[in-house]
């Protein structure tokens, strides 16, 4: 086990930020931490990194208790912060070199790693640029390079794609998967469900400081009531026909507009067949048919609720 967190309790005054939070992350995983704002994701990461004091619980990383002076453990950890954390006075190369040197004492090896990190994030043309001259996307890439240049075995990425354009985001996600293929275990937090769904092998959904659900995306999708959504192109559909579809088992809702019948199903098998049979029986012709499985967004909203958060 790379990370083992048990019964973690963290209070900010009266606010219970982590409520007996627990987590186990295996070697080689890309583990996603999902949760609404203020759910405790960053607090949990800061406790795991031994930056924050906590009231109760245990944290083990690489099988050893994590403490501020666990330097051997820290040497194998890389962190990409939510906020860009670089020196404005140093160039791209100097920034990456500085942070890499804190972990790697061999100068030759360090320089090699820095060059590789620059290439990894695609900043070869910006080596001598100072951070103020970089665009938001390039700055994020520099931030990532500073966190991963020393080739850590465990990498925490706390919302690394915030305010990044789609091209840069894609580049970053590809990079994370590459790091994982090269052997790093990744802990990833993000608000973007499609990112988590795309790269994470296992996901924990947390809210109010507690782990509400944990598993692969398929396992999570099975945990919720929401099932597939069917879209059927049709020229006409009477209210009577629509009511007959709504009355079918496992159909939670159905609506017809713009020549499209959209049917929401709960979990259950053969929903599509049943709907199509009904249409045939009623002698209704239809065109293309689509079936969409529930997304991680559906899972997230069903588990954490739909009310607005801060």
């Amino acid at each position: 086990m790379v990370i083992k967190v048990q019964n973690l309790v963290k209070r900010y005054g009266d606010l219970l930020a982590l409520d007996h939070f627990g987590l186990e992350i295996k070697e080689g995983e890309v583990f996603g931490l999902l949760g609404p704002n203020g759910s405790g994701k960053t607090t949990a990461i800061n406790c795991m990194l031994s930056l924050l004091k906590y009231d109760k619980g245990t944290i083990e990383i690489f099988g050893k208790p994590m403490t501020p002076d666990a330097y051997d453990t820290k040497r194998n950890i890389g962190v990409v912060m939510q906020n860009v954390a670089v020196f404005n006075e140093l160039t791209v190369f100097e920034n990456i070199h500085y942070f890499c040197s804190l972990y790697i004492s061999d100068k030759e090896k360090c320089n090699k790693y820095v060059d590789e990190a620059i290439e990894f994030v695609g900043l070869q043309d910006y080596r001598k640029f100072k951070p103020k001259k970089l665009s938001g996307g390039l700055l994020r890439r520099l931030n990532i390079a500073c966190g991963i240049a020393h080739k850590p075995k465990l990498i925490f990425l706390d919302e690394p794609t915030v305010a990044v354009d789609p091209q840069s985001r894609n580049n970053i996600l590809e990079g994370i998967l590459r790091l994982n293929r090269e052997g790093a275990t990744i802990v990833y937090t993000s608000h973007y469900m499609e990112e988590v769904e795309r790269i994470c092998s296992r996901i924990a959904i947390i809210d109010k400081g507690r782990t509400l659900a944990i598993g692969t995306k398929e396992e999570l999708k099975k945990m919720i009531k929401t099932g597939e959504t069917l879209t059927i192109e049709m020229y006409k559909l009477s209210d009577d026909d629509l009511e007959s579809i709504k009355s079918l088992p496992h159909i939670t809702d159905a609506a017809y507009s713009d020549n499209r019948l959209i049917v929401h199903c709960s979990g259950g098998k053969h929903n599509l067949i049943r709907v199509l049979d009904t249409l045939k029986v009623r002698d209704l012709s239809f065109g293309r048919v689509y079936s969409e499985l529930p997304t991680l967004n559906d899972v997230f909203l069903e588990i954490t609720g739909k009310e607005l958060r801060d």
């Binding site: 800061n46 924050l52 962190v79 860009v84 954390a85 006075e89 140093l90 040197s101």
Partner: protein
């Protein structure tokens, strides 16, 4: 690792153009401004110009031989105090009106002075006449009680203008109140080292910046990181102060005396005080960088003002009214260290100043250590 941390920090801080401006260029510009503003005063010769004075040539004046002799004596010689014109009343009044004379002396039953305005010349004239009248009264009183006194050398004794106090300087240096402004300026520069100290703490504390968090996560011992940062700030600031002092001393020609070793020691201790002050403020408050910069600027300027940066006599006024303030104000201690080094031969007062500065710096350092030693934070 320590050298790497130190050299990286030096490189980073030196490229911080804003801080370099405030800690190096601003004091140099201010010193140049002081020099231009004070140059007329500093280079002015202390030679006394005789005061143009008229005396009305009436019968009373002609008959008062003692007084006419007195006026003659103060208007002649190597260093005459008056440039005397003996005129009729109308002519004298015209010259007074035109500003050609500072005052008109009229002898009647009494001796009176007519002036058009008040000023230094008029005050000197009044003092001279008061002195004469005082002497005259004394002579009359002595003669009434002892008529033989004149024969016993009374007049010689009275005309002998002895000065019974003597201006002495221990180091042979000439007292100069203008120097205090430059010394206070260097004190202010030393305290500006607090900006470096504050920046250091912001970038090492995980609860103050993302950069601090990233550095805290690294496998570097906290004490090593903190001490290398402080040393880098100290080296940079000390170099800046030496450049500033060098400029003030060798380009502007401000006198620091002969004891350069102690001047450098004062700079070093002053820098340490400034950097440790900033480190303390930076680590003690979890406020924005702008808020802390305002605190540091406000404190530095107030302390410099109280040490005589804007008003030379301020330190003396505080010494007379709230002496304890001068003992806890680092700017006043640095200013006084420079001045006592310049003016006094014995080093007692100098070392008291340096000792107090060291105590203040150590207190700031201990306070900073208590905040900086935290490795885990209650909140980030």
């Amino acid at each position: 690792m320590f050298f790497f941390l130190f050299s990286s920090r030096v490189k980073t801080l030196l490229r911080d153009k804003d801080s370099v401006f405030w800690t190096l260029l601003f004091p140099i510009l201010l010193a140049t401004f002081f020099y231009i503003a004070f140059s007329s005063v500093m280079n002015k010769s202390e030679e006394f110009s005789p005061i143009p004075t008229a005396v009305v040539n009436n019968d009373s004046y002609k008959s008062n031989t003692y007084f006419s002799e007195f006026l003659k004596s103060v208007s002649s010689g190597d260093n005459p105090r008056l440039k005397l014109s003996v005129l009729d009343e109308k002519e004298a009044d015209e010259k007074l009106e035109n500003g050609q004379v500072s005052g008109v002396i009229i002898v009647s039953d009494t001796i009176s002075l007519k002036v058009k305005k008040s000023g230094l010349n008029q005050s000197i004239l009044k003092t001279l006449l008061d002195q004469y009248l005082q002497t005259e009264k004394t002579v009359q009183a002595v003669i009434e009680s002892n008529p033989n006194a004149i024969g016993e050398g009374l007049l010689d004794a009275l005309s002998d203008q002895n000065i019974y106090t003597k201006e002495i300087t221990f180091s042979g240096a000439k007292p100069d109140t203008m120097l205090n402004y430059f010394y206070a300026l260097i004190a202010m520069s030393c305290l500006y080292g607090s900006f470096w100290g504050m920046r250091n703490t912001t970038e090492i504390q995980a609860d103050l910046s993302a950069l601090g968090a990233r550095r805290s996560i690294a496998p570097t011992h906290k004490l090593k990181a903190v001490s290398s940062d402080i040393l880098a700030a100290l080296v940079i600031h000390f170099s800046e102060i030496l450049i500033t002092v060098g400029y003030i001393a060798f380009v502007l020609g401000v006198d620091f005396g002969e004891r350069w070793g102690y001047v450098v020691l004062t700079c070093l201790v002053g820098c340490f005080t400034g950097v440790s002050f900033g480190t303390f403020i930076g680590s003690a408050f979890r406020k924005s960088e702008n808020f802390k910069t305002s605190i540091l600027l406000g404190f530095s300027m107030t302390m410099s003002f109280l040490s005589g940066l804007m008003f030379g006599n301020m330190k003396i006024i505080i010494d007379q009214n709230v002496p304890i303030l001068n003992m806890v104000n680092p700017a006043a201690l640095i200013t006084d260290a420079f001045y006592s080094l310049y003016i006094y031969e014995p080093l007692t007062r100098y070392f008291i100043n340096i000792g107090l500065l060291c105590v203040i710096s150590i207190l700031f350092t201990i306070g900073s250590y208590l905040f900086l030693r935290r490795e885990r934070y209650a909140s980030i």
